[in-house]
Symmetry: C2
Subunit: 286 residues, 2 copies
C-alpha cells in the first residue's frame, strides 16, 4: 500500500506514524514544499521516502494536510494526477470553500472531505505524535459524493486511528466549528496580545502568571500560517461568533461596572455547566 | 505547633496537606462555615481536628483562605482573637482593599498579606492536593508591616511548600493580576457562555469540540462564589483590562471583515512569542 502525505506537519505526520504502526508493509511517501520538513520527517522516520507530485499516480491513499489556502489550490492538482482507485483525504479546518472548489472536478469521487478534530499548539514534523486521533471526532462532509469503495478504504484507516466519525454538511461544519474551535483561537490570541502589550512596561507581570493563564492562552502558540487562511475562508461565521463573544464580554463588563454581583454570580454559575459538557471531550494527554 | 485553616477548600486544604508532611507533629485545626466541608476535610485527613474561632487563641499560624468578600469581614475578627506570637496569612486574589481594612488594626503586625498564585478549576476539600504550590509564585504585600519574627515563621512555611516569593505593593499586585489572572477567567467564562448559548439549538456542537476548546474554557469551571467578589473588589483594574481585551478583539474582527490577511498573520505571529514567555511558568501537573 502506497500512502502519500502532502504537508508533513503535526496532522499529516501524526497520521503517518499511526498508519505505519497498523500497516507495517505500507510505504509512506512524503511531499512538502518545505524541503527541510521532508528531510526532518525522513530522519524522524515519520515517512519512508521523499516524493513529488509525479509519483502520485502510484498512490493508494493521499492525505493532504496543508494550510487551507494552499489546500484549495493544490487539491484539484492532486486529483488530476491520482489513479481511479486512489482516495484523497484532506484535514482542513474549513469545508465549504474546499467542497465548492472540487465540486465539478472529474475525479470528485476520489475525494473525501474530512476534518479530524485533533491537534496540539505545536507544528512541523517534530510535532507528530502517535495516537493523536484516538477517541477524537472526525467530521466527514458530503460522504455521498465519494465512491463507495474509496469511502471504505478511508474509513478503515480512521478506524485504525481510533476516530469517532461524524457526518455533516460543509456549511453546518463551518458554522459549528467557528464556535468550538475558531473562536477559541481568537480569544486566546487576543488574550495573549492584551497581556503582552501590558508587559512591555511591566516586566514582572509574567512572573505572576499561573497555570490558569497558561491554559487560557495556550492556543496563542498556534501557527499563523495555518490560522490566517482559516479565518479568511470562514469569515462570515467567525465574525458572527466573535460578535456574540464581544457582546457577552460587554454585558459582563457592564455588570462589573454597575456592581451587579448577583448578575455576575449567575453568569458564572450558569456557565459552570461547561464541566459536564467537557466531560465528554477526550483530552490530549501529551 | 497549632495550625488553623479557616476555609478548607482547594487552597487552604492543599496548604494543610503540605504543611502536615513537613511538620508531622503539627496539629491542623479546620474552621469552615460549611459544616459538611469540615467533616469531609476530617474524613480525608486534610485536617486533624474541627475548631471554632474560640480556639484561635492557641494558634501559632492561621491561614485564612475564604472568598475575598468574606475575607475583609473575617480577617479583623481573627486578628482580634489570636495571641501576639501568632501569624495570620491570607491567600486572596485581591490585596488593596484587604490591606486597607486591616491597616489600623491593633494587631496589624500579626498579619501577612499573601497571594499564592496556584490553583486548579476545582474547589472544596476534595480538591486539595499535595505540592500545589511547588515552584509557584507567592506575592507578599506590605511585608514591612508584619512583625519580623512572624515574617520569618511564615517564610519558613512557604519555603517548605517550595514557593518563589515576590514582594509587591497591594496596588501593583491588583493591577498586574487583573491581566494575568482575572482577565483570563472572564475571557474563559464568556467563551463558555457564547458556545453554550449556541448549543441550546445545536446539540451536536460539543461533539466537535477538541482539546483546544477544553483548554481555553477550563477556567469557566471555577467557583462563582470565589470569583464574584474578586471582580467586585478589583473592579477598576479588571474593567481596564477587559476594555483593552475587547478593543483588541474588535481590531482583529475588523481585519477579518476587511480581508486583511497580512494584518491577521502579523497579529498572531507577534503573539506567538507567548511561547517563550510561558516557558517560564511552572504548570500544574495534576
Amino acid at each position: 500500500m502506497n500512502i502519500f502525505i502532502i504537508g508533513i506537519g503535526l496532522i499529516g505526520g501524526s497520521m503517518a506514524k499511526d498508519i505505519k504502526i497498523h500497516n507495517p508493509d505500507a510505504t509512506i511517501y512524503g511531499i512538502d514544499i518545505n524541503e527541510s520538513h521532508v528531510n526532518e520527517a525522513l530522519e524522524l522516520q515519520v515517512i519512508d521516502k521523499k516524493a513529488t507530485y509525479n509519483d502520485l499516480s502510484i498512490a493508494d491513499i493521499v492525505i493532504v494536510s496543508v494550510p487551507v489556502d494552499i489546500m484549495v489550490l493544490e487539491l484539484p492538482k492532486v486529483l488530476d494526477i491520482v489513479n481511479d482507485d486512489a482516495v484523497v483525504l484532506d484535514a482542513g479546518s474549513t469545508k465549504s470553500l474546499l467542497c465548492k472548489v472540487v465540486a465539478e472536478h472529474p475525479k470528485r469521487r476520489n475525494f473525501l472531505a474530512c476534518h479530524p478534530i485533533a491537534g496540539t499548539e505545536f507544528s512541523g514534523p517534530s510535532a507528530a505524535i502517535n495516537n493523536l486521533f484516538r477517541g477524537k471526532a472526525n467530521i466527514i462532509c458530503e460522504i455521498e459524493k465519494t465512491a463507495f469503495k474509496l469511502q471504505e478504504k478511508a474509513l478503515a484507516i480512521f478506524q485504525q486511528l481510533g476516530m469517532r466519525i461524524r457526518y455533516m454538511n460543509p456549511e453546518a461544519h463551518d458554522k459549528h466549528i467557528a464556535y468550538v474551535s475558531h473562536l477559541s483561537h481568537i480569544s486566546s490570541f487576543m488574550l495573549g496580545k492584551t497581556v503582552i502589550e501590558k508587559e512591555k512596561n511591566e516586566r514582572d507581570i509574567f512572573d505572576m502568571a499561573g497555570s490558569g493563564f497558561e491554559s487560557t492562552v495556550r492556543l496563542a502558540k498556534s501557527s499563523p500560517a495555518m490560522w490566517t487562511p482559516i479565518f479568511n475562508q470562514n469569515k462570515e461565521k467567525v465574525v458572527e461568533a466573535l460578535e456574540e463573544y464581544i457582546q457577552n464580554l460587554e454585558s459582563f463588563k457592564k455588570m462589573i461596572v454597575e456592581d451587579d454581583s448577583d448578575g455576575i454570580y449567575d453568569e458564572m454559575n450558569n456557565t459552570n455547566r461547561i464541566k459536564e459538557i467537557l466531560n465528554g471531550i477526550p483530552l490530549n494527554k501529551k
